[in-house]
Amino acid sequence: MVNRFGADRFGGWLRRQFRVIGAIARKDLLIFLRYPANALMSVVEPIMWLAPAYFMGQGFSVDGRAIGFEGFAGTSDYFSFVMIGMFMSSYISTAFWGTGFSVQEDMTLGVLEPNWVTPASRVSLVIGRSVIMFLLTTLNSIGVLVVGAALFHVNLTGNVLAAVITMLPMLIALTGLGLGIAGMVLSVRRAGTAIDISNWVVTQLSGTTFPVSVLPRPLLAVALALPTTYGFDAVRSILLGTKTMLPVKVEIGIMLASTVGMCAAGYAVFKVFERRCRRQGLLGTH
């Protein structure tokens, strides 16, 4: 009897959280669709960033093969290497900007306080935003991949489904990261520059455009401390057959462990800063 009552309560709580997540996701989707120019630029801009990488690869290539690069990565297809890196790094950017920084946007627009005084869980409010941002990022990145493949040469020969499954723990870990960043943004406010720089450093040191083995030792140590580095490495080895730093199973294990760690840490950080802001009455200020 007690168990059933407990299960009902949990079921009700879960349904309420899904309703909050769904409502926030729907709201953010509507806002995204209201600005078609921004949606278009979100596909065009990454292509503009990819073009210099493509031509730089060509500058070092012989008959379209990056022969020097092969010595580091185990593949001479530099552009496909970069394309996968860009695809995966877009999720890191979403964690930093779409989830973390969005709190500051809400502050500026003046909607953070009214939303947060409702009985809805604040963690669910942030996760709702993460869910829709990751979905939009996926659609956007697929668009970039298709356009990039049409304009340049991209050759993915591996098992795409296996690559997607390998990527999932990284995405969950990034949701935790986004939650933690959202908490910090609550407290720091003008976090734009810090977010911008951190996002870029993390994406680059994860190996978006180069194998991390080219980094000098101090930077290599930072790169190896990032779980995303192992995600990039494992997915590339599945899709392109590149050399991995560790066996793929070990890399997946690291990602799974970091998923638990980053979600727990992100939740804890968010709660600490959220409590502090509520206590100090800082939610409505910016």
Partner: protein, 278 residues
């Protein structure tokens, strides 16, 4: 006549001083401006290092196309000049829009002070502020990678002419943004065009012919190429004279076009009464 010149100079300096105070008030902006030009080219160099290969196998192909094996200096020169343009577009190009959003544009423009002097004064501050990160970046490149950029009088002249070209372009851009009422998408698009076509990290020889034709119509292509040849490859004036004068013509044309665009916009927004709208 001399009184008019004195008044114009006062407006020019007042606008420059005001903008300098605003710039230095926001520490995160200053940090970003110093960090980006160091961070972005440095990490791009690692991609070039990966392409060169552990045994330098990719370097011969690069040297064949560029005439140099110094890929670090090559990448730094391209990236730093592009980042400079990027900063100028955001700061000078976005100046009128920023004032419009702050609500100070209309009130300032209603004063009898010459508007072009206000904009040029504000631009002077932005140009000084944006040049500092360029030198910081080149200094880091020299210290960290051992690349030696020759700072001859001709290189300094190329920087000066490039500054005028960028400033003129940013003036025209600022006027356009006032019409479009959208800064971000406009900057993203314009800087993207320069990024794709100007040979930031690659020799122009690898671009398809139609892209090379576009790149020849962009002043930044000449700035990057001249800095690479003069500072890194030790070229003389005789080697680069044609490209130098093309860049100079761009600078003169763009400055005139920028001032003209500003005067046209000034008249149009006064007539339409849309100065305060955003």
């Amino acid at each position: 006549m001399s009184r008019t010149i004195r008044c114009t100079a006062r407006v020019f300096l007042a606008a420059a001083r005001r903008d300098f105070l605003i710039t230095t008030r926001y520490a995160d902006f200053v940090v970003g401006m110093l960090v980006w030009p160091i961070l972005m080219p440095s990490l791009t160099v690692f991609a070039a290092k990966a392409l060169a290969g552990p045994d330098g196998a990719g370097l011969s192909a690069f040297a064949e196309r560029t005439g140099t094996t110094d890929y670090v200096g090559f990448v730094f020169a391209g990236m730093v000049l592009w980042m400079w343009l990027n900063m100028v577009l955001w700061s000078v190009g976005g100046e009128l829009r920023a004032e419009q959003r702050r609500g100070t544009l209309e009130s300032n423009w209603m004063t009898p002070a010459p508007r072009l002097a206000m904009l040029l004064g504000s631009g002077l501050n932005q140009m000084i502020v944006s040049v500092m990160p360029v030198f910081a970046s080149l200094a880091v490149c020299s210290a960290a990678w051992g690349v030696r950029f020759a700072a001859t009088p001709l290189v300094c002249l190329v920087f000066l002419v490039s500054t005028i070209a960028m400033f003129g372009m940013a003036l025209a851009f600022a006027s356009l943004v006032l019409f479009l009422k959208e800064l971000n998408a406009a900057v993203f698009f314009l800087r993207g065009v320069f990024m794709v076509f100007c040979g930031l990290t690659s020799p122009l020889a690898v671009l398809p012919p139609w892209m090379r034709a576009v790149s020849r119509a962009l002043p930044l292509t000449y700035s990057i190429d001249l800095v690479r040849r003069l500072s890194l490859a030790g070229a003389s004036y005789a080697d680069v004279s044609r490209d130098f004068w093309v860049l100079t013509a761009f600078a003169a044309g763009l400055m005139a076009a920028g001032c003209l665009a500003f005067l046209v916009v000034d008249r149009a927004v006064r007539r339409n009464g849309t100065l305060g709208q955003y």
